[in-house]
Symmetry: C2
Subunit: 199 residues, 2 copies
């Protein structure tokens, strides 16, 4: 991989720099929480120029995703939402489940930690509220957009829990592409279909 | 509450006896796992006659549910499945979510523990595989019954996680009966509707 020379970046292997930024990001998100963490603070901790962080990782949401190897990036989902409505649900389900069902990795650790550790929970919740929901809500453009996204998101999260964390056979043995086809219409309905009115 | 006098039951307050049985059940399920735990072993630990355990708590599944205050009992769901197909999904969703969204209690502790503790995880998984799936599969009667039940179950579990454990606002603020109406058609489809064929 190549990195353009950037003002203030420290010399050396770009892969080492990337790892230093990711490590600084994890530490900063954990200490400050998702909302209060800034690219500037992460760059300072990694001893690099903020522009280099943007160059390597894009936005704060994208950096959080990269640092925790999350199975969804708001940017990735946004690209899917902008890409047309046809099989939207299947595309969202495929994007999430492909990454979430991968063995091990920091995403699984983060979710497990969030269940028992208040700091990890508050960080993950901050990312969902601000990184995911604030980013995606305008693309649905309905007053109930946050609820719609969380219905879809919690459904996919439940599948991850049952298959990867609890390891229930019926889900472990299911073919990924079959699950995508089965779950897709539900995600479509939650994101863009007709729902019972509130109240 | 009244309890019929039963052979071998120890004298005293029936409420004390019930609590002793529940405590013995939690200890036995944790030590032996769901599958290997027996009513006989639980009765022995509580120093009561096995018939008294059955009298107070019914089957092993029901006792597990009572001991952990789970938001679903296989017996309760079976009654709903037998009660007709009309608004099956809404009835299942209402049964589960009403109990799952209640504050605190051992269910929440059990789920949190299952995420990080292998013993708790294996116990919860054993209950899902054998207590829930073995009991309910015959009522659906399709070859993909286990997958169907887990699709519905993991969806409801994901809602519980996002609302009660992570505390995401869009779900915390949602009205329970509104969620039931919105989620009901999905549960209907997973349990009895047409799904994309496997493979």
């Amino acid at each position: 991989m190549t990195a353009r020379p950037t003002r203030g970046r420290r010399p050396g292997n770009p892969e080492v720099t990337r790892r230093a930024i990711l490590e600084a990001a994890r530490a900063t998100f954990t200490r400050a929480g998702y909302e209060k963490a800034t690219i500037r603070a992460i760059a300072a901790r990694a001893k690099v120029d903020p522009a280099l962080v943007h160059h390597h990782f894009g936005t704060k949401e994208d950096l959080f995703v990269a640092a925790h190897e999350l199975p969804f990036s708001p940017t990735g989902v946004r690209d899917i939402l902008e890409g047309g409505q046809g099989t939207l649900g299947e595309r969202v389900a495929r994007l999430y489940l492909t990454a979430a069902f991968r063995e091990g990795g920091p995403f699984e650790s983060l979710v497990r930690a969030a269940m028992t550790n208040p700091t990890a929970r508050s960080m993950l919740r901050g990312f969902l509220e601000h990184g995911v929901l604030d980013t995606l809500t305008p693309y649905l453009g309905t007053p109930d957009a946050r609820l719609r996204i969380m219905l879809a998101g919690s459904h996919l999260m439940g599948l991850f829990m049952a298959r990867r964390v609890l390891g229930v056979d019926a889900l472990r043995e299911a073919d990924l592409e079959h699950l995508v086809k089965v779950v897709g219409p539900t995600i479509d309905r939650y994101l863009t279909g007709e729902l019972a009115p509130a109240g």
